[in-house]
């Protein structure tokens, strides 16, 4: 296996003094790997990926992203965030800015890209997620699916090596889930490293190299999708799969 782009080494995290949310996490992600993380709510899967770009800080163990170890060092956090894009369940678009301004904000202010160039690149990304005609609108004028595609385009504008998805389709109407998943599948085919917290098992089967099942802050089971779905090893995994695939 090539050098890991993300590596968790016995990572532990607590909320407050008593809630042990991540327990001895060991995980190595290879460049270009596409990982789906699933598990019941409260199992720590969102916290896991939020540690990768330091939206949450871990208290024990080592976490290395693209060669940089995450710590209190602000410069290290800055370096990591440059390489890691993130898409949230609630989109988190900036409602006071137009779609185009949402996309050019970070390139112009963080990357110091001239406005014209930033806008051209933003239009490329908007075309990629098939929403270029909405560039002048405000986020709240768009449907949920459109907003989430804008959020994906916004993250891509910084040309990250790694994309994190935190339940990207959970806040969407059923009719809109597909348009977002289609964009994510295309993205996966482009070879970017992806970690996706989702319960869209069809997506997992279609694009994941590896599926990780978490419960109570631990990685219970991980496997390639075919084996994971057809031949789960752990009782807890079987129980979970029977609940989400059972209907």
């Amino acid at each position: 296996m090539t050098e890991a782009i993300i590596s968790f080494d016995k990572v532990n995290k607590w909320y407050g003094n008593n809630f042990h949310v991540l327990r001895d996490i060991d995980l190595a992600v290879a460049p270009g790997e596409r990982i789906v993380v699933c598990g019941p709510s409260g199992s720590g899967k969102s916290t896991l990926i939020r540690c990768i770009n330091r939206l949450e800080e871990h208290q024990q163990g080592r976490l290395i992203v693209d060669g940089t170890e995450l710590s209190d060092d602000v410069k290290a956090i800055e370096r990591v965030r440059k390489e890691v894009g993130m898409v949230f369940q609630q989109f988190n678009l900036f409602p006071h800015l137009t779609v185009l301004e949402n996309l050019t904000l970070a390139p112009m202010w963080v990357g110091k890209t001239p406005k014209k160039e930033a806008e051209e690149r933003a239009m490329v990304q908007l075309n990629r997620v098939r929403i270029a005609e909405q560039a002048g609108k405000y986020p709240l004028q768009l449907s949920g699916g459109q907003q989430q595609r804008v959020a994906i385009a916004r993250a891509l504008c910084l040309t990250p090596k790694i994309m994190l998805f935190d339940e990207p389709t959970s806040a969407l109407d059923p009719e809109m889930i597909k348009e977002v998943l289609d964009v994510m599948i295309e993205l996966a085919e482009g070879g970017i490293t992806m970690i996706c917290v989702t319960h869209e098992m069809g997506f997992a089967k279609a694009v994941a190299n590896r599926v990780i099942f978490m419960d109570q802050g631990q990685i219970v089971e991980e496997n390639e999708p075919h084996e994971f779905f057809n031949n789960p090893k752990n009782e807890r995994t079987k129980d979970f799969l029977s609940k989400i695939l059972g209907h």
Binding site: N53, L55, E78, R81, K82, V84, G85, M86, F88, Q90, N92, L93, F94, P95, H96, L97, T98, L105, A106, W109, V110, Y138, P139, L140, Q141, R154, A155, L158
Partner: protein, 368 residues
């Protein structure tokens, strides 16, 4: 069995609901209770209006003749003559009479600057330079002492120029301070947070009058001998610190209404703390609290009338000064009060309308 979707063509509303007639019918005479209220209020106006018109216009005296005003008092008419007689003293206070063109020009420049600052097309970097230039012009013209202009110390300043200048500077200085304090109260750094909390709680715990007294009388006691700061500046600092504490809490309310996800999205995109505040959090937070902030601006404008107690005779103070010392005109203070009330109202009402315009501008992104 299958059926095809049959669209129904749009039809106009059966009863007209737009226009003056329908508006009156639905809003003023919608049911018997509202009809009754409308009639009662109309009756009240009809009963009160003729008397008011007679007092304000028919029996009123408009010429500056004290004897005529005395006579009008018997018949129940207003004495607008007091304004005609004293308006220069009321508006310019104790500023030397022959030099009063200077505060007039300075105030017009200041008000013009405020109007220009309110218009979107002028929101350009050079506006800051214009502010510096107009403020310098204002103080130079008011102080004089050069190019043949008689020097006038700040204790002779008064009336509307003082009100407008103190209100403008307090607002312009208090607002950024308030934003910084509001951000500071939410800071993760304990020292900064504590300082901001202490500042806000300390200032909110005392009345403005005592802040002004401290600025005016107590502060000089702590200064090294031989050093003195103009009382006008001390009072300006006092009002600014006072208003900023209140405004900081309003701004903090706005900051708390912004979802955590906005900050997280900004962090994820690599924006620094100040970039995130300036580009993402503050524009949204301030948009939410425009009514509260404008409330505060208006309060500051009127609170300037309190600086009279430390012998800075702004509009209200100079009106008192103009009438109290003149026994011929003192009885007509009420009419003079109405005059300065009108001046205050024009300024405050303009601010209030401007705030509505700002709100409509900011709501664009929320309109679907």
């Amino acid at each position: 069995m299958t059926s095809n979707f049959q669209p129904i063509a749009a039809r106009p509303a059966p009863v007209r609901i737009e226009g003056v007639g329908p508006w009156v019918r639905t809003n003023l005479f919608g049911n018997w209770a509202s009809s009754l209220t409308t009639l009662a209020l109309l009756g009240l106006v009809a009963w009160w209006l003729p008397g008011f018109l007679r007092w304000a216009f028919v029996d009123a005296v408009f010429v500056p003749k004290a004897a005529l005003c005395q006579a009008a008092r018997e018949t129940g008419g207003a004495c607008w003559g007091v304004v005609a007689e004293k308006y220069r003293l009321i508006i310019f206070g104790r500023y030397p009479y022959a030099q009063q063109w200077r505060p007039a020009v300075a105030t017009v420049a200041m008000v013009a600057l405020l109007v220009v600052s309110c218009i979107r097309v002028f929101w350009r970097p050079w506006l800051a330079l214009l502010w510096a230039a107009v403020l310098a012009f204002f103080f130079a013209l008011m102080l004089g002492g050069f190019a043949g202009l008689e020097a006038v110390t700040t204790d002779r300043w008064g009336g509307l120029p003082l009100t407008v200048m103190v209100a403008t500077l307090s607002i312009v200085l208090a607002f950024p301070l308030a934003v910084l304090v509001a951000l500071g109260r939410r800071s993760h750094m304990p020292a900064i947070k504590t300082i901001c909390v202490i500042y806000v709680e300390l200032i909110r715990g005392v009345p403005l009058i005592s802040v002004l007294f401290m600025a005016s009388f107590m502060f000089p006691l702590f200064m090294p001998p031989g050093m003195s700061i103009d009382v006008l500046i001390r009072v300006l600092v006092g009002i600014t610190l006072f208003s900023a504490a209140y405004m900081a809490e309003i701004v903090r309310g706005g900051l708390q209404a912004i979802p955590k996800g906005q900050q997280e999205a900004a962090d994820t995109l690599g924006l620094s703390y100040w970039q995130a505040q300036r580009k993402v959090v503050l524009p949204q937070a301030l948009a939410l609290v425009v009514p509260g902030i404008m409330n505060n601006f208006i309060a500051i404008f009127k609170d300037t009338s309190l600086i009279t107690i430390v012998s800075l005779y702004e509009l209200t103070g100079s009106m008192g000064l103009a009438l109290d010392s003149d026994s011929d005109w003192r009885p007509f203070k009420l009419t003079a009060y109405l005059f300065i009330t009108a001046i205050y109202f024009i300024f405050c009402f303009s601010m209030s309308r401007y705030s509505l315009w700002i709100e409509s501008q900011l709501s664009r992104s929320k309109n679907r």
